[in-house]
C-alpha cells in the first residue's frame, strides 16, 4: 500500500465522493474496453477473458490513481498543439545535432508554477520534455526546474502557453500569481 | 515496399549499433543507461517495420511488450543502481 503521504501527491480534487469514484470507474472501464477491443482486433470470442480483465484493470486503476477532473474540449485543443510542437522539437534538436558547430547553450531555468500540485504538474513536466529545447529536470514545490538547450530561445513564453493548455485539459483555471500583485 | 521496410529496419539496426559507442564510452552511468533506453525505442520501430515487411501481425504484440517494458530497466537503474553508487563516482 502506498502511504498517505504519497497518495496526497497525486490527489488533487480532495474529498471526492462515492459518485465521483463510480463515474471515474465507469469512464475508465469504457477506456479499457476500447483498449481491449484494439488489442484483440475486435474478436468476439475474446470477451470471455476480456470482461474480467477489464474489470480487474479498472479496479486496480481506480485504486492506484484517484479520480481527477478533465475536460474534453481541453483535450481536443491540446492534441494538435502537442503534435505540432513535438514535431518541431524533433526538427529543432535534429538540426542542432547535425550542425557541425553544435549550436547549443544550455541553462537551468526556474519556472514558477501556476498549476496545482499533483497530476497536472506531472503531466506538464512530462510534456515539457517533449517540447522544443526544454527538459524537465525537477519538480519542485514552487518551481519547475527546466533544462533549456538554447538559452537565447523563447522558451519562457512557450512554457506559459503550455501551462495554459494543460490547465485547460484538466478543466482548471490558472491561479494568477499573487506574489507580484 | 518490402525492400523499403527491410532497408529502414536494417538502417535502424545500424544506428542502434552505433549507439553502443555511448555505452562503452560513458562517462557517467546515466549516459550508458540512456543508450539502452535508445535501444528500446529503436527496437520498437524495428519490430514494427519487420511486422509490416513480413506481413506478420503478431510481431506488433512483441513491439507492444517492448513499449510497455521500456521503462522497467531504466527505473531500476535510477532507483537502485545509481542511487547506490552515490559516494564514489561522479566523474566515472
Amino acid at each position: 500500500m502506498y502511504t498517505n503521504d504519497q497518495k496526497q501527491h497525486l490527489q488533487f480534487a480532495p474529498g471526492h465522493s462515492v459518485i465521483i469514484t463510480l463515474r471515474t470507474g465507469l469512464i475508465r472501464a469504457v477506456l479499457f474496453t476500447l483498449i481491449w477491443w484494439i488489442l484483440t482486433d475486435g474478436a468476439m470470442n475474446s470477451w470471455l477473458v476480456g470482461v474480467p480483465v477489464v474489470l480487474f484493470a479498472t479496479l486496480v486503476s481506480v485504486q492506484l490513481l484517484p479520480p481527477f477532473s478533465w475536460s474534453l474540449i481541453g483535450i481536443i485543443r491540446f492534441v494538435p498543439f502537442f503534435l505540432w510542437r513535438s514535431l518541431y522539437a524533433g526538427v529543432d534538436v535534429a538540426r542542432r545535432a547535425f550542425d557541425p558547430s553544435l549550436p547549443i547553450s544550455p541553462q537551468m531555468y526556474h519556472y514558477r508554477w501556476r498549476l496545482p500540485p499533483g497530476l497536472p504538474q506531472v503531466f506538464m513536466a512530462n510534456t515539457v520534455s517533449l517540447l522544443p529545447g526544454t527538459l524537465s529536470a525537477e519538480l519542485g514545490d514552487e518551481f519547475l526546474y527546466v533544462h533549456v538547450l538554447d538559452k537565447t530561445g523563447a522558451f519562457a513564453s512557450e512554457l506559459m502557453i503550455l501551462e495554459e493548455y494543460v490547465a485547460d485539459l484538466f478543466g482548471l483555471k490558472l491561479i494568477t500569481d499573487r506574489s507580484e500583485e | 515496399m518490402e525492400i523499403l521496410y527491410l532497408s529502414i529496419a536494417l538502417f535502424l539496426l545500424l544506428t542502434l549499433v552505433a549507439g553502443l559507442w555511448r555505452v562503452l564510452q560513458g562517462p557517467t552511468s546515466a549516459d550508458r543507461m540512456l543508450a539502452a533506453q535508445l535501444f528500446g525505442t529503436t527496437a520498437v520501430a524495428c519490430v514494427l517495420l519487420l511486422a509490416q515487411a513480413f506481413e506478420y501481425p503478431p510481431l506488433r504484440d512483441v513491439a507492444l511488450i517492448f513499449a510497455l517494458l521500456a521503462a522497467v530497466a531504466a527505473v531500476a537503474f535510477i532507483r537502485r543502481a545509481w542511487a547506490a553508487e552515490e559516494q564514489n563516482d561522479v566523474s566515472d
Partner: protein, 343 residues
Amino acid sequence: MTLLQLMFDTLLGFSLLWLAWQALTSPDLFRAIVLFIAFGLLMALTWIRLDAPDVAMAEASIGAGLTGALLLSALARLGSKNGSRAILEKKHQAGSMTENTKNQLPFRLLLMVLLLAVAAGLVYVVLTLPENIPGLGILVEENLESSGVSNPVTAVLLNYRGYDTLLELSVLLLTLLGVWSLGDMTKQHESFPGPVLSTLSRLLVPLLIMAAGYLLWVGAHAPGGAFQAGSLLGAAGVLLLLAGWRPGTRLAGLPLRISLVLGVAAFVAAGMVFILLGRQFLEYPPSFAGVLILLIEAAATLSIGITLAALFLGGRPKFSQPKFSRPKLNQPKSSQPKFRRHK
C-alpha cells in the same frame, strides 16, 4: 530482398557476439550489465528473425526487462555495503592485469585451445546434422485439433508436454523458496519516489494487466501465452516495488502464498480429476481441453507474475502471525485480569 535479410542477419549475429564479448570482459560491472541488457534486446530481434515470435515475447519481457532490473538491483546492494564498489573493482582489475595475468598466461592459452576444440566439435556436429528431418513439428500439427488450442507452442506447453510445464512451475516456486530461505526482506533505504515515477507506475500497471490478459487470451491461437503474460504481470509488480510500494503484512501472508502455488495447484488438480475419470495424468479430453487450458494458464499466469515480482523483492516479506498466537489487540481491558486469575 534476400540480400537485405542476409545483411540484417549478419549484422545482428556479429553484434550479438561482440556485445557478449564486451559484456563479459568489461572492466566496469555496471557497463557489463547495460551491455547485457542491450544483448537481451538484440536477442529478441533474433528470435523474430528465426520465426519464433513466442520466444521473442518472452525474451522482450524477461531478457530485456526483468533480468536487467534484477541485475541492477543486485549490483546496487553489492555496492551499497561500503560504497566502494568502483574502487575495489578497479583495484582488482589493476591487480589482475599485472601479476595474475602473467602467471596465468599459459593456463589461459591452454583454456582457449580447449574451448576452441569444444567449439569446433559443436560446429562439426551441427553442420553434419541430417537435413530435412521432420522433427516433432509434423506430429504436433497432426494432433493440433485435439489439443484444444491452435497455437502449436501453447499446445506443446500446456498439453503434449504438460509434465515439463508443471515441473517448470515447480522449479520457479523452488527458486523462490530458496531465495526466501536466505532471509527476510531487508529494509532498503529508498528515497521518496517522486510524483513522476509514482504516476508512471500508476498508469502503466493497469495497462500491463490488460496486456497480460490479452496475451493469455491470444496464446490459444497466436503467439502469446501464460509465460509471456506472467512475465508482464511480474514486470507490473517490479514497477510497483520500484515506485516504493510494499505488500502490506496482511497481503504477504496467506493471500500471497495461495497465489504463489495456484499455478502448480491448478495443473495438478486438472491432472488428478482426469485420473479419477480413467484417463492418464494430464491427459485432457479434446472437448474440454480448450477451456481447461485457459483456466490452467490463468492460474499459471498469476503464479508466474507474483513469483517473479517476489523474486525481485528478494527476501521473504514480513507477514502477520496467525491470530491465535497472541492476544487480540482490541480486547477490552477488563478481560485481561481474568486471564491472570486463571493462571
